[in-house]
């Protein structure tokens, strides 16, 4: 039975890493963000940060680090990003390649604007409830609900060729 947050250290580390790597698409930067968050938690030295509250606090820090990293990257690589987006567009023939399914989904998620992307990742991959996502992002539950619906609609349009090829 896990009685303390730190007993779940490895588990939390992995959950945070998965979130960060999906946000950043860069394992090295993701690992840096997760490690930085744990170090900040230690420096915080706050007795109240235990269990779920510590986990949530870590998600908030990792999310902020990811966003700051993405903004920095966007400033540096604006022109390159535009080219990448064009070349990353899927065609049905690509979509039918089973080994490219993962890459297609990844591209589709990463093309989402950050406010939609982070919600999709927290809900679809980390199975978080709307209330928990809202607490991490610091926004109302209604915003989570509407952004998630909008994101799913975009993904449906984007992944349509892939889903058709799969049926």
């Amino acid at each position: 039975m896990k009685s303390d947050f730190w007993d779940s250290f490895g588990e939390n580390y992995r959950d945070l890493y998965r979130f960060a790597v999906r946000m950043l698409d860069d394992p090295e930067s993701a690992e840096d963000a997760v490690q930085e968050s744990f170090l900040r938690l230690v420096q915080e030295n706050n007795e109240r940060l235990q269990g779920e509250s510590a986990r949530r606090w870590l998600f908030v820090v990792v999310r902020n680090l990811c966003i700051s990293q993405l903004r920095k990257k966007a400033r540096q690589e604006f022109a390159v990003q535009l080219e990448d987006l064009q070349s990353a567009a899927m065609t049905p023939s690509e979509a039918v390649q089973a080994n490219e399914r993962s890459a297609c989904v990844k591209t589709a998620v990463q093309e989402l604007p950050i406010p939609l992307r982070e919600i999709v990742i927290l809900r679809e991959y980390e199975n978080m409830r709307y209330a928990d996502i809202a607490a991490i992002l610091g926004c109302p539950v209604g915003t989570v609900r509407s952004r998630l619906a909008a994101a799913r609609d975009r993904l449906r349009k984007r992944l349509e060729p892939l889903m058709e090829a799969n049926t």
Partner: protein, 218 residues
């Protein structure tokens, strides 16, 4: 609460998306399901959203272990004999705390737990309600002291219960990829909870287990 069909396309998307995530009130959920039975267009829209969620599960990310260098760095940042130090020692395969430390900690936990339980003659449902209210700090909710160990267990039970509900709904809707992901999460992270035991014994989950067996995943 009376459910009225959404008016705009955006509201429909939100409504169907919330149904998919189990984020609707039970009566609203039932009303929507009844509505969908006689509205194939909206039902197809919901199935498309479910297909999107299933497709998203194709993107897998490997789970790394914390690197030994990071564990060392974290340990250095947090020296001394404490829970973090102990946890990191366990995580990095080093020695566990002494029996005296463990015993003292256990005794303290038991005393605090017994005291908290004497203040809380509540069943699981009412306790988890109080706990979740505490976490969300909603106004008008009385905060009641609860031992950290019990709080952690209760949070795990609540989280596992939510996963179980999600899982059963996905099995019922034949959203197999999502169901498999939830089933694995439940058994890997919350194997010691009541919800996990209930899922293992639940006959409704049999088709999923059959599927997993056929894929030689269990």
């Amino acid at each position: 609460m009376t459910w009225t069909p959404p008016q705009s396309e955006n509201e429909w998307l939100e409504c169907l998306s919330a149904w998919q995530d189990g984020e609707m009130a039970p009566d609203e959920r039932r009303s929507l399901e009844e509505f969908l039975e006689s509205n194939p267009l909206r039902k197809a829209q919901l199935q498309a959203l479910i297909a999107v969620s299933n497709s998203l599960q194709d993107w897998k990310v490997e789970d790394p272990e914390p690197s030994p260098a990071f564990v060392r760095r974290l340990k250095k940042a947090f020296p001394g004999k404490n829970r973090l130090g102990d946890s990191i020692r366990r995580s990095s395969g080093l020695s566990v705390p002494s029996w005296a430390f463990q015993f003292a900690f256990f005794l303290l936990g038991a005393l605090v737990g017994a005291f908290a339980m004497s203040l809380l003659p509540l069943d699981w449902k009412s306790t988890s309600h109080i706990l979740s209210s505490n976490v969300s700090s909603q106004p008008g909710v009385v905060n009641i002291f609860i031992a950290p160990d019990q709080a952690e267990d209760l949070l795990r039970e609540v989280a596992a219960g939510n996963l179980k509900d999600d899982l059963l709904r996905n099995v019922q809707n034949k959203q197999w990829k999502k169901a498999i992901s939830l089933y694995n999460t439940l058994l890997e992270k919350y194997a010691d909870t009541t919800a996990a035991r209930q899922v293992v014994e639940n006959k409704d989950v049999s088709p999923l287990k059959e599927l997993l067996r056929s894929e030689e995943r269990i």
